[in-house]
């Protein structure tokens, strides 16, 4: 048996020697701890370069040109696009509105999500808790377009349920058509959609609080406020901050919901920066100008992120010190 198999290998060897050598080389390469991690990164890197790096560089390049699909000749403008944007009243107005949107939306979602999360956390033995949780997360799973469509119908002045209720009290309201109310009405939908996300984050954060610490506080008869300050918050803040960060970045880019519900109107009361960008790029076809604005927004988002990460780092350093 032994002899036979050796013989077979000896016979096969001349034909496969080159292949074997190639294989041995590959195996050696894969086992090399300096090479292997790099190999693992290659697929991700290829995608990252293809889908992120090249388009971003392209966008940066475009931002220095007058590049319009309406006129065939692109022209190098240097920083003119940036100059235009920074002097554009409409941009500043949209940006201001966006900041209000982000700040109001994220803070209400966080506060509400945290409170509801606390309630859910405390209801571990409540029957039907799982079903309640699943239902609570429904808004998050629905696409913004569908949610927007629902609320358009709900807000509809002639047959929408909101105005029906208002009419019972003798009033009449067109939420999406009123310049004073539209922003709040759309913001409400955003809050409705994303509060469950903050509940989820809160539950994850509260789950990271060690049980013994909560039990110790219970034994020590600490009031709730102090349990919160000295136990819950120090343990939960990292995950909470992550949630707030994700919501901030996402909220900053809000487009679909508003595009469907108001297209930035009435007037331009719900015109956020992402809508303006979309309009300039895909309606006015001013790609150079839009690229410059996109770059400014990218830098703004990075600034947000850095601030959050800085705060997180700061507190984690204090923790370790």
């Amino acid at each position: 048996m032994q002899a036979e198999s050796t013989e077979r290998i000896a016979y096969a060897a001349p034909r496969t020697r080159g292949l074997m050598r190639g294989r041995a080389f590959l195996v050696r390469l894969l086992n090399d701890i300096r090479v292997f991690p790099a190999l693992l990164l290659i697929p991700v890197l290829i995608f990252f370069i293809l889908w992120n790096v090249i388009p971003t560089l392209w966008m940066i390049g475009l931002s220095f040109y007058k590049y319009s699909l309406m006129s065939p000749n692109e022209r190098f403008l240097g920083l003119r696009n940036y100059n235009d944007i920074l002097n554009d009243v409409q941009v500043w107005a949209s940006l201001g509105r966006t900041f209000v949107w982000v700040f109001a939306g994220v803070s209400i979602q966080t506060a509400l999500g945290f409170l509801l999360g606390l309630l859910f956390w405390g209801s571990r033995d409540m029957p039907g808790r799982r079903i309640a949780l699943t239902m609570l997360f429904a808004p998050m799973i629905i696409t913004p377009i569908a949610a927007g469509a629902f609320f358009q119908l709900i807000y509809e002045p002639t047959f929408g349920v909101v105005n029906w209720v208002v009419r019972q009290f003798g009033g009449n309201v067109n939420l999406l058509g009123d310049t004073n109310l539209a922003f709040g009405a759309v913001l409400f939908v955003d809050i409705w959609m994303w509060t469950p996300f903050m509940i989820l984050i809160t539950l994850a954060a509260l789950g990271s609080v060690p049980k013994a610490e909560l039990e110790a506080a219970e034994v020590d008869r600490l009031p709730w406020l102090q349990r919160f300050r000295h136990i819950i918050l120090p343990n939960a803040k990292f995950i909470l901050m992550l949630g707030i960060l994700l919501r901030t970045i996402d909220s900053f880019k809000t487009l679909d919901l508003i595009y469907l519900m108001t297209r930035g109107g009435p007037g331009n009361t719900t015109d956020l920066i992402a809508l303006l960008l979309r309009r300039q790029a895909f309606e006015a076809l001013e790609f150079g100008w839009a690229s410059a604005l996109a770059l400014i927004l990218l830098l703004t988002a990075i600034a947000f992120t850095s601030i959050y990460l800085y705060i997180l780092n700061l507190s984690s350093k204090r923790q370790e010190a």
């Binding site: 013994a212 039990e215 219970e218 034994v219 600490l222 000295h230």
Partner: protein, 359 residues
């Protein structure tokens, strides 16, 4: 101060895991009781039921005749130190100790101050008083947790393996501090541990637990010297008791450890387990009448500078702890004897026998 009375307390997890089986016992007021037992014997569950962190499946718990079975931990007015050191974050050591006290309306500021000073002193925490707790190592944090509970002066303090998660260097320190503490304060203390030396040094009384039941209760020396059960002999001591199987020969133990047959006053058992602690076995290098020859199979140094010998006597293997001065090599022959008073006799099921050796 309060006594703790359990009546038929049982805890079953998931309908089939019996963590604690129908315990009825009293922990006397002002005493330190150690619940000692291997992992999973139900000692922590028992303590958590006393704390109110776990509700008994059946049975009642009383503190000084007050039924507390269904009260929450905060309503029971107890103190508890957890395995993992719990400190309240973002404040100093002093503030940590003060935090639960600030809600005690009956306490005057001067009294509060005095209590804090006193525990800081007892636990050697004075130099750290102003330090932020997050800057402390686990050992010191655990001290802070202990100090906080002691300062509250609850009627009962429960310790759940407080030393387990502390690094070796702070372990000794913490042990000393705890010892000083239990001497000074006369609170009712229940201390859960799987470490026998901890139990031996701290306890007024040890309750040895196994499989959700208390196997034996008593003062440490009694439990150590006269285990009521083979389990106690095996679990206590490092290493535990030697057990040697004997078949009674005309009501006497013959051969093995004994040069002369040892006659028992009771002869109902056919099988007898003879237990002897390794440190009670006498060993010497020169032969003498009534000493049995034994071959040294292994010799190892153990804590305290003693040697642990593994000896072979015919077919029997026993361990003996001898002073370092007795120099023996592996393979050498030594001579062994034992005092009949140091023997503990068990029946085949491992329960201690009342039978005595006749002189």
């Amino acid at each position: 101060m309060a006594d703790i009375r359990l009546e038929g307390v049982r805890k079953v997890f998931g309908g089939k895991v019996f963590a604690v089986r129908d315990l009825t016992l009293t922990f006397p007021s002002g005493s330190v009781t150690c619940l000692l037992g291997p992992s999973g014997c139900g000692k922590t569950t028992l303590m958590r039921m006393i704390a109110g962190l776990e509700e008994p499946t059946s049975g009642e718990i009383y503190f000084d005749n007050e039924r507390v079975t269904h009260l929450s931990p905060s309503q029971r007015h107890i103190g508890m130190v957890f395995q993992y050191p719990v400190v309240y974050r973002g404040i100093s050591v002093e503030e940590n100790i003060a935090l639960p006290l600030t809600h005690d309306k009956r306490l005057s500021p001067a009294e509060r101050r005095a209590r804090i000073e006193s525990v800081l002193e007892t636990l050697d925490l004075a130099p750290y008083a102003k330090r932020d707790v997050s800057t402390l190592d686990n050992g010191t944090r655990q001290k802070v947790a202990v100090a906080r509970e002691v300062a509250r002066q609850p009627r009962i303090i429960l310790f759940d393996e407080p030393i387990t998660n502390v690094d070796v260097s702070s372990k000794m320190q913490l042990k000393r501090a705890l010892k000083r503490l239990v001497k000074q304060h006369s609170q009712t203390i229940i201390y859960v541990t799987h470490d026998q030396t901890e139990a031996m040094t701290l306890a007024d009384e040890i309750a040895l637990m196994r499989d959700g039941m208390i196997v034996q209760r008593g003062v440490p020396s009694e439990i150590y010297d006269h285990p009521s059960d083979r389990f106690g002999g095996w679990f206590l001591g490092n290493p535990g008791m030697n057990f040697i199987d004997y078949r009674l020969d005309n009501g006497a133990l013959v051969g093995g450890l004994f040069a002369q047959p040892l006659r028992l006053n009771q002869t109902t058992e056919a099988h007898i387990l003879v237990g002897i602690r390794p440190e009670r076995l006498r060993v010497q290098t020169t032969p003498a009448p009534n000493w049995v020859p034994a071959r040294v199979r292994r010799s190892a140094i153990v804590a305290g500078g003693q040697h642990l010998l593994t000896l072979e006597i015919d077919a029997i293997t026993v361990k003996a702890k001898v002073p370092e001065s007795l120099r023996v090599e592996e393979g050498e022959t030594v001579y062994v004897a034992c005092d009949p008073d140091d023997l503990t006799l068990f029946d085949a099921d491992g329960h201690r026998l009342q039978a005595r050796i006749l002189a």
